[in-house]
Symmetry: C2
Subunit: 234 residues, 2 copies
């Protein structure tokens, strides 16, 4: 009987934000797979490393960091082939996914390749979206708010329109787009309603006023939360 | 020394989707508080009931179900007073919250009343948003998608506009608004891109084609996910 592919969300970084279900699956399957840079450790694996028995087969999915190579289709092709062979041999395989696998997760690249011919179950995880709101200490959305998740790479005009239409917004993948985003927020008068956070729930978590972040200084794992009723909770 | 108020997310319903952190806090604080209907059990408490030691003080926050009485400010006033007294006496208090406390959670009503004078920490949980996508078996959002969360009570014109602007959407709080929502989706040509689910991850989880749900039959805990590239993952 063929194995099942699990996409397992392990939360935003704090190892304690792992769910009981993710823990059970990650410690019981014979094969693990995890994303990592071309060299060095896997952040996703590090979140759960203390729980792993050390006896499982592990498949590293090492991605080139150069944007021109992203997503590296050949890397996912090779990983899907290796994972598919393990599944066909009857082994369950769990892919360790930061945050939640289906919320802007790179798991989609494996899902797209393997969902036709294999049983797949996704185990949801705590997403960076709600983890950032918790760390910033104020509600993300409430009542009949429209909440929009807006990727930082969008062009300034589109971003301004989407922000104008929502009651609350989370701008994700800030990174190198910080200067543009700050300009958009100023242009539509929402600078004072925006809160910046990077590496939420990780040991290196940092919360600073948006105005104090240097343009080149925002990591990929940063987020800006915006709410038009910024003081409505008080 | 005054106690800390914890808003603790316990996930969408499956007790196994509890995080290690939520479990630790809920089993170690001297006082728990939880929402419930005027009579009968608390769904939030039931999610974690098997873990509770049975020795904690418990504060029931019982809400009238009549819409005309919602939110019942007097009920939250009374609960905030009782919780505030426990905090002032030096006890930590954990409020058990379905899903995530800051994602459309009723915890905001206590947060608004108590955040001025007390230490508050929110522990994020798996939200219904990602749990529904996992249960439905296809990605919520990816790459540079704009994802909008749209409450069902919004009027049809606003809902149609917000849906038109997003790449992906989650329509929450469907309940009695199903007929209107179905009309909006048909009007803008997205009926075939919509997937319906109720009580995700609970024992009573139900996934049926949107066309097959009777108008009066959708519970409050139901969601419709929409993606304009419905087949893009295959």
């Amino acid at each position: 009987m063929a194995g099942t592919l699990y996409g397992v969300g392990v939360g935003p970084g704090d190892p304690e934000l792992l769910t009981l279900k993710s823990l059970r699956i990650l410690t019981s399957v014979p094969v693990l797979a995890w994303p990592a840079p071309e060299e060095g450790p896997s952040l996703a694996r590090e979140i759960v490393a203390d729980h792993l028995p050390g006896t499982q087969r592990e498949i590293a999915i090492r991605m080139p960091l150069l944007p021109a190579r992203f997503p590296a289709e050949d890397v996912y092709d090779k990983a899907a082939l290796e994972i598919g062979e393990a599944l066909d041999a009857g082994d369950d395989v769990a892919v360790i996914c930061e945050g939640d696998p289906f919320f802007y997760g790179s798991f989609m690249y494996l899902f797209g390749r393997l969902s036709g011919g294999h049983a797949i179950e996704v185990v949801p995880g705590v997403s960076s979206l709600t983890a950032c709101a918790a760390a910033l200490g104020s509600p993300l959305s409430a009542k009949n708010d429209v909440l929009s998740v807006i990727p930082g790479p969008l062009d300034a005009d589109t971003m301004a329109q989407r922000l104008a239409e929502a009651d609350a917004a989370a701008i994700i993948k800030v990174g190198q787009h910080l200067e543009k985003i700050r300009g958009v927020l100023a242009q539509i008068g929402l600078s004072d309603n925006a809160r910046y956070i990077e590496r939420a729930t990780m040991a290196e978590q940092r919360i600073v006023p948006l105005a104090d972040v240097d343009d080149g200084d925002a990591p990929y794992f940063s987020m800006i939360l915006v709410h038009k009723r910024a003081e409505a909770w008080k």
